[in-house]
């Protein structure tokens, strides 16, 4: 079946490991620092970016024979920003609380390099179905790293996960304290750096000479 062919699987799952947008291509770092103080915004951001990457890849891939080469970047921008505005409007109407939490970051999805990167590098040269897999795979790979960073930041910084306290009260009475540095952006950068370090240590072929 098409969905299980090794090429499709490579497109969908590659971004989880050796082709991860954040860890290997170092794309989308800016938003990875901004929305990872808590798990919930990180999750919604990941889902929104996945939706936008997948949909814009499909739309632009279907249009790829009609788009004039000279204005292709503008066309990509228009499609991506239209999708982002629609998602923003939908969140405001149907998921009001989440839309408030993400506030400005929804609009900033447009500036996420992963989306434009995948469209330019893959969707414009491939058929819609592989483009969908590629877009979705990259979005999910991005979301996964976001959640990983948010997990450590929320756990160590606020002592909660998805807003639920998980550190037992007894620990605080023995002198444990939440690390306020974890919720500041520099710590996100350091965490991403540590994750990249571990990832490269296990995948030696990714290490640059």
């Amino acid at each position: 079946m098409n969905i299980l062919s090794s090429k499709s699987r490579q497109l969908l799952l590659g971004p989880f490991n050796k082709n991860n947008a954040i860890l290997v291509q170092i794309l989308g770092i800016c938003s990875a620092l901004a929305v990872t103080a808590k798990m919930e915004p990180a999750l919604v951001m990941g889902v929104s970016v996945t939706a936008v990457t997948a949909l814009s890849s499909v739309i632009l891939s279907s249009l790829r024979d009609a788009i004039p080469t000279r204005v292709r970047i503008i066309v990509q921008l228009v499609v991506v920003s239209t999708l982002v505005i629609i998602i923003d409007q939908l969140l405001k109407a149907f998921a009001y609380d989440v839309s408030k939490q993400l506030s400005v970051f929804v609009g900033l999805i447009i500036t996420n390099c992963i989306i434009m990167g995948r469209v330019e590098a893959f969707a414009l040269a491939n058929k819609p179905w592989p483009s969908l897999l590629d877009g979705a795979g990259n979005g999910v790979g991005y979301a996964f790293i976001l959640l990983l960073v948010a997990f450590f930041r929320e756990l160590l910084g606020s002592g909660t996960l998805f807003g639920v306290p998980v550190i037992p009260g007894a620990l605080y009475r023995w002198g444990y304290a939440n690390n306020g540095l974890m919720i500041l952006p520099p710590m996100a950068l350091i965490l991403v750096g540590v994750i990249i370090w571990i990832h490269r240590a296990r995948n030696k072929e990714l290490i640059e000479q």
């Binding site: 000279r70 629609i86 409007q89 405001k92 109407a93 009001y96 939490q101 306020g180 500041l184």
Partner: protein
């Protein structure tokens, strides 16, 4: 037609802009009523939360009619003026000179006592702050406070919406004798007096924004607060 010709590029761009414009207009007008309803119900929910009535957003309309017995506008001299208090946007009023502002007052009846609810509006680190302060019948003691913000930093300034910050205002008083002193937000966990609360660590500018917001807005209400009920 040649795909790379100027004519094709031009026509393609025009068609694209047209399609996108229609699509966005449809989405925006189609979802507008729902979005406005969310915003209005959230306002009702916030007003009720300031008198410690917690309801879901869906149930807020009904609960609002039940608890809020009267709503009206006053001017800075404390006189009642005509207009719809709920429809007034404090964000627009704050831009006018204090004398021209229309100041909404909501009166709630909770557990047999009267509470005065006053909207407040100010500026944080990244954008606007707003909230509702409810006062007891003496128009001096704070019964409850609700704060919200547009774009304060999650985990830092955004913590002003949390219950443990809001509850710090309960029981504080805004008058010292005849002088309106409002409530100060103090750094360093040393706040203890009747007119001060602890700030949020890491959210100093937002905390100071809350302090300035209370002072500015309550000053406008001073004449109303000093008048007898």
């Amino acid at each position: 037609m040649n795909k790379e010709s100027n004519k094709y590029t031009f026509l393609f761009s025009v068609a694209m802009v047209f399609v996108v414009a229609i699509l966005l207009t449809l989405v925006s007008t189609g979802l507008q009523p729902r979005q406005n309803e969310n915003i209005e119900n959230e306002k009702r929910q916030d007003i009720l939360r300031s008198v410690k009535v917690n309801v879901s957003r869906e149930a807020s309309r009904e609960a609002f009619d039940k608890y809020i017995t009267r709503q009206f506008l006053v001017n800075s001299s404390g006189e009642e003026i005509p207009g719809d208090a709920f429809a007034v946007d404090p964000g627009k009023e704050i831009k006018k000179t204090p004398g021209e502002r229309r100041l909404p007052v909501f009166i709630a009846r909770v557990d047999g006592t009267t509470k005065y609810i006053l909207p407040v509006r100010g500026t944080g680190l990244w954008g606007p702050l707003w909230g509702y302060i409810s006062l007891n019948e003496d128009k001096n003691t704070i019964f409850g406070a609700v704060f919200d913000h547009k774009s304060e930093t999650p985990g830092l300034g955004a913590e002003i919406t949390r219950d443990d910050f809001r509850s710090r205002f309960d029981g504080k008083t805004i008058f010292e004798g005849e002088t309106l002193v409002s409530v100060r937000v103090e750094k360093g966990g040393k706040a203890g007096g009747p007119h001060e609360v602890d700030a949020i660590s890491g959210g100093t500018i937002t905390s100071k924004g809350v302090e300035a917001m209370l002072k500015d807005n309550l000053t406008c209400y001073e004449s109303f607060l000093k008048s007898l009920p």
